[in-house]
Structure formats: structure tokens, C-alpha cells
Symmetry: C2
């Protein structure tokens, strides 16, 4: 089913979110989550909610004071290419603990958020017209960066609840590699890449199974491609511990860790692209790439990185203090518990109130619940109806597809509003679904 899509201007959807941000932030300037009279609840928004962001005020205040006390001006200068040393050190400690898996400081580079990571990796390591393999469905804005901004060709590969279909992927890789005339160089080591969201996938919330993680790495090595993992939800696991009051367990092992340096055929094929946008605040514009040294080498020796002196030196220096003071870990635990409760409540509401034939996937982390209506239901029309009648909107499944699939699907957030608002909105979606499914 794979077909190359050219870099034309067609939007993959998401205009609702576009209009939403435009309306709320640009025009009214109401600020985060201020839905004023509450008449419109927009469950398509993938962003932290107002209380979580308010919490950041205190965190950044404390971190700024802490850093400034010992600061000599260094944070205001052109920085190291890989980013503030203290930040990278603190990050490796923080990630090692939160992942429960070792993260090497020498494999980290600061970015100006995951978007910047995607753009930098893609524009520096690949050429316009090169192929990016993608899961179908996948995160629509990333697809637009590849296709619209950077003129890459997208080749969708089907996926199921365990992730990308390995047999199909093997087949298209073989087919496209034969057609490629790429000669690997130090600066362009791969002829193609695959963009994956292996952990708490956007939109589906699912995780790539350990078996498939191994298989994907094997394929990447076999065909010499890069795996760019959008790992922005990895720290948001709600997997229960032994007792209900325990801290949720870490998320499943990130794909990066499956590309083991001790393997005899290791060459370095995986990038883990992380961000503080989902766990602290998107406005910080701070992220990191965890990548093989040969990839970091290309990124850090680019004129792009050189000219600016690394990425967001100031903000990352402040965050180094936030990490050192344990403020990020504390905040993260708080939001994981809160989002887990939101998830449980919204999921239960959907399970209880949805008409029969509707499949709801319960994720174990992340921002979203994915709903599959019966095949004959157009979730876009249902969304319109729900918005008009109930004032509740959600993301339409087809927006996440480059093949026009998932028309019967929807994605709802569990983060942007407080639990009572989310549950009421879920009830309204269920009511709309009942009416709509009836005819």
C-alpha cells in the first residue's frame, strides 16, 4: 500500500487546532485554558493545562534564583555546541533515573525543542526529495515539516496496535533502497529515515512492543537507515506500581536502547528526540537529542549550530538548576499522577457510555486516547455534530493519515483541561455518538 507522496502544499488537517491557537492566543490573548464561558471544549489540543503551567512559574523562579547566585555571565555567552555542560550532566542523571536505564551525557545535545530536533536532523542529514518512511497514522505536524517545509517524500507504512508492520516495512525498504543512488558520507550517512513515535504514540497511545523494537533496529541496520524517534511522551508513564499509591513505573524501554553499542553489528541507527514541552512547558523551547556520536558530530559541526553557539543556552542553564533542585522530578511525578487519574476517568466514561461497536484503546501513558468508531462512521461529521450540538471538539483520525485512512477514528486529550471538564466533555461525545450512530 506504500506510495511516495510529493512535497505539495496540501494540509494534512489540524486546522481546528490552528484556528484554536489563533483565536485564543493571538486574537483574544486570553491565555492558556481560558475557555471563558466554557462553552467550547477542544479535546484536540495536545498541550499541558493551565495549573501545570502555573506550577512552572514557581519552578522557574526558584531555578533562576539558584542559577543566578553562582552565575558568572557564562550562560549569556555563545555556548558549547552540544549545550550547557551542567544541563547535559543534570539531564543524564535525570533521564537515567526516570527511564531506569543509562543515558550517557556524551550522547546528549540540547535542542530548542523537539521540533527543532526534527528540523535540524532532517535538514542537515538529508536532502530535499529524500524518502521518510512513516507509520500510518502518525503525528500530522511532523509530517508537514517533512513534506511541506523540507520537501521530503513520505512513504507510509501500515501499523497496528503493536506498531509498524515489520513485514511490510522490510518490503518497502528493499524496494526503495534498490532505487536509491545514495553514497554514504560522513555528513550524509543514511539514504533514508523512518519517523516513529514508539512510546505512547501520537495519536494512538500505543507502544512499540519489545519484539518489534528489536526487529526495527535489525531492519535499520540491514538497510542503513536512520530511525528518528519522537520520544516526547516517554516520561509520562502511568503504568501502575505494585500498590495503587506507588509511583507509576517507568515507560517501556525506549527504542534507542535497543541499538546496543555492544552488538557486533552496531553502527548507530537511532535518535531519541526528547522535549520539555509535554512535561514542563512548550514555551520553554527546550529539548534534547540522544544520538550516536557520528550523528551528534554532524549536528554540532554544522554551521547552523556553530553560528548560534548551541541551542538555548540561557534557558537550559536555568533548567540545569531546576533539575539539580529536583523541581522537574517533583513536577513530573505530580503531572503523571494527575494525568493518570484523568485518563482513568475519561476512559471509564467512554467505556461506560459509548454505543456498542466502538473500540477504545487505553494507553499506559502520554497525552491521548484513540477511539475507533465502526467503519461506516465518519468521525469528521460526528465531530462537527458534536461541536455544534455539544460544544465539544476532538481531532479527526484522518488528519493523522497520509493515505486517507482512519476516517472512523478520533483522538481526545487527557491533559489540557481539568478532570471534571474532561469527563463532562467525554460524556457529551458519547451522547453525540449515540445519536449519530443511530442515524
Amino acid at each position: 500500500m506504500a506510495s511516495a507522496l510529493s512535497g505539495s502544499g496540501e494540509r494534512l488537517g489540524g486546522d481546528d487546532r490552528l484556528t484554536f491557537f489563533n483565536h485564543y492566543f493571538e486574537e483574544t490573548g486570553l491565555g492558556v485554558g481560558d475557555t471563558s464561558d466554557g462553552s467550547q471544549v477542544r479535546l484536540e489540543v495536545g498541550a499541558p493545562g493551565k495549573p501545570e503551567l502555573e506550577d512552572c512559574i514557581d519552578i522557574l523562579n526558584k531555578a533562576t534564583q539558584h542559577r543566578m547566585q553562582t552565575e558568572n555571565g557564562y550562560m549569556f555567552q555563545y555556548g558549547c555546541w552540544r549545550g550547557d555542560c551542567k544541563f547535559r550532566l543534570q539531564m543524564s542523571k535525570f533521564l537515567t533515573e526516570e527511564y531506569d536505564d543509562e543515558v550517557d551525557c556524551e550522547e546528549l545535545m540540547v535542542t530548542c525543542g523537539a521540533t527543532n530536533g526534527i528540523y535540524m536532523v532532517t535538514s542537515l542529514l538529508f536532502n530535499r526529495g529524500d524518502i521518510v518512511f512513516i507509520e500510518d497514522p502518525s503525528f500530522f505536524i511532523a509530517l508537514q515539516i517533512f513534506r511541506k517545509d523540507l520537501g521530503m517524500k513520505l512513504v507510509p507504512v501500515p501499523s497496528n496496535d503493536e506498531g509498524i508492520n515489520i513485514e511490510e516495512f522490510d518490503k518497502v525498504l528493499s524496494e526503495y533502497q534498490r532505487a536509491s543512488s545514495h553514497q554514504p558520507t560522513e555528513e550524509r550517512p543514511y539514504w533514508s529515515m523512518v519517523y516513529l513515535i514508539p512510546t505512547f504514540n501520537n495519536p494512538k497511545g500505543t507502544c512499540l512492543s519489545p519484539e518489534r523494537c528489536k526487529q526495527v533496529v535489525t531492519l535499520a541496520r540491514k538497510y542503513n537507515i536512520l530511525i528518528l524517534c519522537d520520544d516526547v511522551y516517554n516520561l509520562l508513564s502511568y503504568i501502575p506500581g505494585e500498590k495503587p499509591e506507588d509511583k507509576p513505573l517507568p515507560s517501556p524501554r525506549r527504542l534507542f536502547a535497543y541499538d546496543k553499542k555492544t552488538d557486533p553489528d552496531y553502527v548507530g541507527n537511532v535518535i531519541s528526540n526528547g522535549s520539555f514541552s509535554k512535561i514542563l512547558g512548550p514555551g520553554m523551547r527546550i529539548g534534547w537529542v540522544e544520538a550516536p556520536r557520528k550523528v551528534l558530530n554532524v549536528l554540532e559541526k554544522s554551521a547552523y549550530t556553530w553560528s548560534g553557539g548551541g541551542w538555548n543556552n540561557y534557558t537550559s542553564a536555568i533548567l540545569a538548576s531546576a533539575l539539580e533542585l529536583g523541581l522537574v522530578s517533583k513536577h513530573l511525578l505530580m503531572i503523571r499522577k494527575k494525568y493518570r487519574d484523568n485518563l482513568d476517568s475519561v476512559y471509564q466514561t467512554l467505556i461506560d457510555d459509548m454505543p456498542s461497536g466502538v473500540k477504545i484503546i487505553k494507553p499506559q501513558g502520554g497525552f491521548f486516547i484513540w477511539i475507533e468508531f465502526p467503519e461506516n462512521i465518519d468521525a469528521g461529521k460526528l465531530g462537527e455534530y458534536c461541536e455544534n450540538e455539544y460544544g465539544v471538539s476532538f481531532a479527526h483520525g484522518k488528519n493523522f493519515s497520509t493515505t486517507g485512512s482512519f476516517r472512523n477514528c478520533a483522538r481526545v486529550t487527557i491533559t489540557y483541561y481539568e478532570r471534571d471538564v474532561l469527563v463532562t466533555a467525554a460524556q457529551k461525545i458519547c451522547a453525540a455518538s449515540k445519536t449519530f450512530c443511530r442515524g
Copy 2:
């Protein structure tokens, strides 16, 4: 003399600076300007000095406190595509006052520094392989972004002390336009661009004369190209007022203002790409583009900007307070006076002590003094000698050229060190020059 240079990996030089930052920031972590025993003075460094950066600690502390007092969490959310509204409003006031020329808030967009502005404009508005016209000499790292990172073809155009040679530019534009098959679209409105540093040029310190500003705009309209102005030094004018104690006058009018919207043939051909890196601290990674609305439209509607929710929302929100409190204006006035004094002293030293036949251009603003040794002098060899014998290094003129020109030239900073260090270093360069020129 124009010739297209392909996007191969050849470095244009500047390895000294690369090594320097690597040494001082990455390896020793000594921090800004800490040359420890003072045995090496590196006048190639184009960065603010330690005291100026220390001043930023106070500014950012105050601004953070101010902003946080009235903050509702908004600054931590995905932002407007063009950037924090308060910041853009404060910026238009600040720039209008400092330029003594109107800057429209609606023509501003926040960037993550001038480098980000260059990269975003070039990668979004142009294709790999497109032509970028450049002055010869020009800022070498920008040239590498174009050529090495983004695979553009560079076409150098000669310039003299008044800026780019208009006749020559007309000729090459005509020649290359004929060969172009570009069809203008909303997203790719220009077939080519010229990269200029019209105000306090890097490396020469000169300004494009008003007459040439008009001519360049006329050519841009005639041939439908974009003018990307690196305007990072525009706020650093040292032009004396009536009395010596007066605030220095504003810099000559920026090129952007010559592209008048009231002109009958106005279409919008100029971008002013600004930054806080030279006037506050590079580590902030905050800049702005002032651009025609049709260009902003492409930038802000890119998936790149959409996905991240604008650029450096948090830092720009803090800077909005710094601007509102007048802290930036105050700091700027302080550094303009300080750098002017540095410039006067270093220039006088060079004039007094250089052997005959050496031409020194005194700039009226910016970061650098450009020195032209007699044609038979290799300034690279002189630099090596000066570094070995006197512990003073500077940037070699040929690093700023894509044509191998300016081998007899050198660029020295007037900002990175305190005045006494700069003057002593200048004396040493003069001494080395005397010995070296004698043979």
C-alpha cells in the same frame, strides 16, 4: 568575477574561533573571557565581554521577577507563531526609538537568534541548489550555513568601502535570472536572494551608503529577489552627537526602510534580521525578523513554526519585561559608550603604531576594525607570527572570502576584552607588523 560555488564541504576558515570556543568553553569550562594567565588574547572573537554579560545577570533577574509577578502560565504554553505579543509590542517601541524610525509590530516575528532567522528564511523560502548572492568579503559562518548546511550556490559580488558594487550586481543578476526556471508562488516568491550586512558590516565595519541602499532595493524589485539583511550590529552606533557627552546618534537608516510601502512598485523585498546576541547576550538565543507580511506569512504558516508554537516564548516573555523596565535601553547605552571608547583607543593605537602602507578603516559602530596590509603581506602568516611571538591572534581576511581574496587583511574585535587588554594587544599586532613587514 562572479562564479557559482557548489555546496561542498570546504570550510571557509574560522577554525581558530572554533578551536577557541572548543578550548575555553567545552574543555576547560573556564567561562567567558577567562583567559586565565592572559597569555593569549584572541581578537578574532566576535562576542560581548565578561562585564557586559555579568550585567545581564541583573537584567534577567529583575525582568524575571517582574514578568513572574503578573504571569498566569501563558509564557510556558505554545505561543503565537509570531511570538509573545507583549514582546513584539515592546520590541516595536524599543526599535522605533533606537532606530529613530518606525518599526511596525505587525512586521515583527520572534526568532531563536539571527542564525535561526537565516536558517528559517533560507530553508523555507528557497530550495537546495538555489543561488545566494553575497558580498565579498562577508560573514563566513553565514556563508557556511548557506553552502554547507543548506546546499545553496554562492555567487560572490565584489564590494568596496561603500558596499556591494551595483553595476557588477546588476550584471550577474541579469545573467543568473535568465538561467532560472523559477515560477514565483506564494510559498516561494523569489528565485534568489542576496545576503548583506549593510550596517557596520562584518568584517569591514562599513555601512552601505544611502545611494546604494536605494539602488539595491531598485535591483531587488527589478529582478524579484529577496534581500536578507544581517542587521545584528544596527543598534551599536558610536556616531558622536553634537557634544562629546551626548548619546551617540542612531545608526544610518536600515535597508529595510528603503523598501517603502508607499512606493508604487512596492512588493516587499527586504528582511531585517536582528538579534540580542550582540547587544545583550548570545546565550539568550533571541532575535527577530522584520519582514514584509507575505514573507512572515510563509514563516509563520510553516509547520516548523506551527509545531513549536513560535520561537522561544519563555525567553522573549522575560525580555518583554526587560524592555518595559528600560533595562535593555540602559544596557545598550552603556555598551555603546564603552565600545566607542574601546574603538577610539584601539583605532588610535593602530594609526599611531602601524607601519606605513597599512590602511585602517574606522567604523562608526559594530564589533570590528578591518585592517588592510600592503598587497604583498600574507596576513595569515603575520597572524601566526603574532600569535607565536606575542600571544595575540586575529581573524584572517581570506576567511571572509569565497574567492580567496583579502589575504592581506585582518579583522580585530573591539568588544571581547577590556580596553587596556585591547590596546596592549593592538600594540603587539603593530609590533609584529613592523617586524613582519620589514621581512
